[in-house]
């Protein structure tokens, strides 16, 4: 039961949910649903078709004005004139239609032209004359409002008695398309278009960028003034289009038309969670906010509430929503941080002894004391090392480059290529390209001529997970199968390299084994739900892939050829250390690096997820109980899962946190994630001519040259 609880971890689910950007408006969205549900209970027939139609018919104009306001806010300003512009557009539409008796398309054009005009005035003043948006649009609000009052008074008699029977006009006002009121159809279409404009179209994205940071936008080469101008133009046009729809629906230009709509629109934006400092928010959020206010007013009126109480209730709920929303947005990251780490249950058995003289194969010894340093102080964090056929030594550096030490003495250091990211595991393919797993980027390659190419950076997304795991977040180690398929580990889909310890606290299957097929250029997920899969190595016979789970201290075997193809088995369990990279040894066995050594205290912690939750929440990171990595140890195992020997650097004087080792012509080269050198150890008993590259490709080379020779012979014969 406990195991299932920790395995399924609702906490992780909520954590990953909270991380989603679309979760930001969760509070207003929930409020909207709650309000609808409440009115559904309180008002009979609230969800009847006619009633829903009516709600949809009454809503769009307010929503348009809210969108207009939202755009101006997203651009980093505010447009207080939307209500007055809306009212004036309403009057203009009625005037042009009822008094001037223009045709409908002309009325629409005239109304929108008004929006363009006033948008250009606002935008021109704010963007080009650099006036303050708040004051500018407030002044425009006052002027337009006054003009509206004058105009409605001047034409009050005509407007009061004007009544034209026109089917198209009535269709715009009260018609439906497929059961949905026409103005709602307009809202859906234009709302979507505006959303796409602000998120996908260049000039719209520029408006958002300017709203986020005007300075940064200017530095990025965005025409800030033009973007601002466009934002107000759009705001004006949307508000006046709302006025046109309203005119067709209401046929009325009252003194109250549009009064206070700018306040409602502003409230909608704020309740919807659009940041008043600009750049943060969506059209959908403005709509949610507008819906909340609309439903609230409509519902309370339907309940027969006294008007003043309705207003008070709206004020109160707005205050509540805004207050809660502000708190939620402000503390969301903290909440997320506190609940994101979601440890699971790991039960360890007591590991084999590592005590010196205990007779165990893991017993501490001095065999790494004789290691000589290469590139001491000239390298930072050589996580993996590899050698080419000319004995040159390549390694990775923390700054994202591949460093080469030239044979034979490895005194000369040069930057071979700079990939970026944090390169980790290395491999060399048949064409002698260096392939590197790069944390944060994926798998990249460097050709012998130093040019860099991308191998892969994404795989298929897991459909049932909230977190988008299509990107390869932490590519760790790779190897190449005889078929050319590249198997590599993505150690964690939840944490970046710098947070590896947090992934360790979870002990959860966050990682996966991926396979890239160069023929189809596709990456597939071979195994998922793996606890920090780290080293990957194709067996000498090419029939299986060995990989290790660092947090579970296991070596796994995954069959890629033969009868057992596709099956996974644990080959070595309960290692005394945390395994890292695996590489082939000259005698048909495999080297395995221990990045750290288990301790009884941490093993105990792994059995108590609640303890780790408390630890992460309550004490500062530098006091966390972490896996012990201040050890230096390399072991060797064979295809039957027997551990054959171990090589120790007692006290980890020279080589702590060993993450990789590579055998080459009788030497073992040692790399470490945090080290400042590469170690070289003479292996007197090893094959003094064996190289890793030959072990992978020499056979092919032999076959290829044989074929060539035969062909040549054939030609000669004929």
């Amino acid at each position: 039961m406990r195991r299932i609880w920790y395995r399924l971890s609702p906490q992780m689910l909520i954590g990953e949910l909270l991380e989603k950007r679309w979760m930001e408006p969760i509070v207003p969205f929930a409020l909207m649903l709650a309000m609808f549900a409440a009115f559904l209970l309180a008002i009979p027939d609230y969800a009847s078709v006619v009633q829903i139609q009516l709600l949809m018919r009454s809503f769009p104009e307010q929503a348009f004005v809210a969108i207009a306001m939202a755009i101006s806010i997203l651009s980093g300003g505010i447009d207080l004139s939307v209500g007055a512009v809306f009212a004036m557009a309403n009057f203009l539409a009625l005037y042009l239609f009822l008094v001037q008796e223009w045709s409908l398309p002309l009325v629409l054009a005239g109304t929108l032209a008004w929006g363009v005009l006033i948008g250009a005035v606002n935008g021109g003043l704010i963007a080009y004359a650099k006036t303050r948006p708040f004051l500018t649009t407030m002044v425009v609000l006052i002027i337009v409002r006054a003009a509206y009052n004058k105009a409605t008074i001047a034409y009050s008699a005509q407007l009061a008695s004007g009544y034209v029977e026109n089917a198209a006009w009535d269709f715009i006002g009260i018609g439906t398309a497929g059961g949905i009121p026409f103005n709602m159809v307009c809202l859906i279409v234009i709302g979507l278009a505006t959303h796409i404009y602000l998120t996908r179209i260049r000039s719209g994205v520029h408006i958002m960028a300017v709203g986020s940071s005007r300075k940064a936008a200017r530095h990025a080469g965005i025409n800030v003034k033009w973007s601002l101008f466009l934002a107000y133009l759009l705001s004006g046009v949307l508000a006046s289009f709302a006025g046109f729809l309203y005119a067709a629906r209401q046929n009325s230009a009252g003194t109250d038309t549009g009064v206070g709509w700018e306040v409602n629109a502003l409230a909608a934006a704020v309740v919807g969670g659009i940041s008043l400092s600009g750049g943060r928010g969506t059209i959908a959020r403005a709509m949610i906010g507008a819906t909340i206010i609309f439903l609230l007013i409509n519902g309370l009126v339907q309940l027969g509430t006294h008007g003043s109480l309705t207003t008070a209730a709206i004020g109160f709920i707005l205050l509540l929503a805004v207050g809660f929303n502000v708190k939620f947005v402000k503390h969301k990251s903290t909440i997320l941080q506190k609940m994101y780490v979601s440890p699971t249950l790991v039960n360890f058995k007591e590991p084999p002894s590592i005590e010196r003289g205990s007779g165990s194969v893991f017993a501490e010894n001095d065999r790494l004391l004789a290691v000589e340093p290469i590139g001491l102080g000239k390298i930072e964090g050589p996580e993996d090392v590899i050698l080419d056929r000319y004995d040159n030594l390549y390694t990775v550096n923390r700054n994202g480059s591949i460093i080469r030490f030239l044979a034979p003495d490895y005194e000369v250091r040069e930057e071979f290529a700079r990939i970026g990211g944090r390169p980790l595991g290395l491999a060399m393919d048949k064409d002698e390209n260096i392939l590197a797993c790069v944390a944060g980027m994926g798998v990249y390659g460097v050709r012998p001529d130093r040019s860099i190419f991308k191998v892969t950076d994404e795989t298929a997304r897991t459909w049932y997970r909230f977190k988008d795991d299509s990107r390869i977040l932490l590519a760790d180690d790779l190897d190449i199968a005889p078929s050319g398929l590249i198997y590599f580990s993505d150690a964690s889909t939840r944490y970046e390299l710098t947070d590896w310890a947090l992934d360790g606290f979870e002990g959860r299957g966050n990682g996966r084994l991926l396979c890239y097929d160069p023929k189809t250029n596709k990456t597939t997920t071979v195994l998922s739900g793996l606890a920090f899969p780290n080293g990957v190595c194709v067996s000498h016979d090419g029939r299986c892939v060995y990989w290790v789970s660092t947090w579970l201290c296991r070596i796994y075997r995954y069959w890629i050829e033969g009868e057992q193809k596709g099956t996974l088995e644990i080959m070595v369990d309960n290692l005394p250390g945390y395994p890292d990279n695996i590489n082939r040894a000259s005698d048909g066995t495999y080297w395995l690096a221990f990045v750290g050594i288990r301790s009884p205290a941490f093993d105990l912690a792994m059995e108590d997820p609640a303890f780790r939750v408390r630890m992460v929440k309550q004490i500062p990171p530098d006091e966390w109980l972490c896996p012990g990595i201040n050890y230096g140890c390399v072991i060797k195992f064979d295809d039957n899962g027997n551990v054959l020997e171990s090589l120790w650097d007692p006290g980890a004087e020279n080589h702590a946190t060993i993450t990789s080792m590579r055998e080459h012509k009788g030497y073992l080269y040692i790399g470490g994630l945090e080290n400042n050198r590469i170690g070289r150890l003479k292996l007197p008993d090893a094959d003094q001519n064996w190289t890793s590259w030959d072990s992978y490709y020499a056979k092919d080379l032999q076959v290829a040259s044989d074929v060539k020779t035969m062909e040549v012979d054939h030609v000669v014969d004929s």
Binding site: N251, G254, H306
Partner: protein, 339 residues
């Protein structure tokens, strides 16, 4: 609510008693159903009890609250369901409320139109859906089953005649200012037009200002302050409604012209109107007594409920009588507001 609950209880108790009595009587005298007076009562009951009447004012001001109170008391007494929706002076909300009510299909819909056009289309739809519509005091461009309210042009003429009596024929400066309500509301529009026509018959009269103040005392105060600055010799003010005029009267008082500028007001007879008369701030107030008007709305509704013809068949008009209030002795034409 609390002001109604005691009464509602009494009404309910009364109804229960009546029902019990009716049952006893019908059990005791089953053969007397053909009694003409009993028949009348039975027909009335069949036409009214359990019916639904919906009411949408512009908002719940003093005037509308008085109407609502009278309607509620009467309809509950007759066993009629009565619902009220308060759009609180928002025309879009009022339109929504009316549309929703039409979908709920009450038997009678009573509305107060903020403008002549806003509800015109929906009222037509209501009648085509079989809902009888009564418009109160402020009508729309759609004529419905009944109109209950002021004979607005007549009221305008009466007010104008008072102004003429004081300022016309060369008396005083002849300058008159008109304070309209909402420019596109029938009540204000028609009253202004009638008053203007009447005033213009006298060439010595100059209408120096005729502006809408949207039922708002503050706005009326602003407007009147400006008018008085330009025309300190203003003779008279005609205002279409009481509460907004309070602001104008204050402006007149502030200008030191109280008593010199005659103020004639058409209003609903809310207590403040009579108070203003008592304080000498208004010269004369033409009251249409909202409480009595409320009774008339009830009467119209009851008549329509008992009328078997479908919605849209009749065009009843129930014009209310206006009463002049010119001193404390006319208090009876103002209603009282229970606290």
């Amino acid at each position: 609510m609390s002001i109604f609950s005691g009464r509602a209880f009494a009404v309910r108790a009364g109804l229960c008693l009546a029902a019990v009595a009716a049952m006893t009587m019908s059990m005791a005298l089953p053969s007397q159903a053909a009694d003409p007076r009993q028949q009348l009562h039975d027909d009335f009951t069949a036409a009214t009890v359990g019916k639904k009447i919906a009411w949408v004012p512009v908002w719940l001001g003093v005037l509308e609250s008085e109407w609502t109170r009278v309607m509620k008391e009467n309809f509950e007494d007759k066993g009629i369901e009565f619902v009220m929706r308060d759009p609180n002076f928002k025309s879009d909300v009022q339109l929504q409320a009316v549309s929703t009510l039409i979908n709920e299909k009450p038997d009678i819909l009573i509305v107060q139109n903020p403008t002549t056009t806003l509800l015109a289309r929906e009222l037509k739809r209501a009648m085509s859906e079989g809902i009888k519509v009564i418009q109160v005091n402020m009508s729309s461009n759609t004529t419905t089953d009944a109109y209950v309210g002021v004979d607005v042009p007549k009221m305008g003429r009466l007010l104008a005649k008072e102004a003429l009596a004081v300022c016309g024929g060369g008396k005083g400066s002849g300058k008159v200012a008109i304070l309209q309500g909402e420019a596109t509301a029938a009540y204000s529009l028609d009253m202004t037009n009638a008053a203007t026509e009447t005033l213009e018959k006298d060439p010595s009269i100059k209408i120096v200002s005729s502006q809408p103040v949207n039922w708002d005392a503050n706005k009326a105060s602003e407007v009147m302050t400006n008018v008085l600055q330009q025309h300190p010799d203003l003779c008279s003010i005609i205002s279409v409604w009481g509460p907004q005029t309070a602001g104008a009267a204050q402006a007149v008082k502030n200008a030191g012209l109280q008593g010199k500028v005659k103020i004639f007001v058409g209003s609903d007879g809310q207590p403040a109107d009579c108070d203003m008369i008592d304080q000498g701030l208004y010269t004369k107030n033409l009251s249409y007594t909202a409480n009595l008007q409320g009774e008339q709305i009830v009467t119209a509704a009851l008549a329509l409920l008992q009328d078997p013809r479908p919605a849209g068949s009749t065009h009843y008009a129930f014009y209310t009588t206006n009463y002049w209030v010119s001193g404390p002795e006319d208090r009876r034409y103002c209603f009282t507001v229970s606290k």
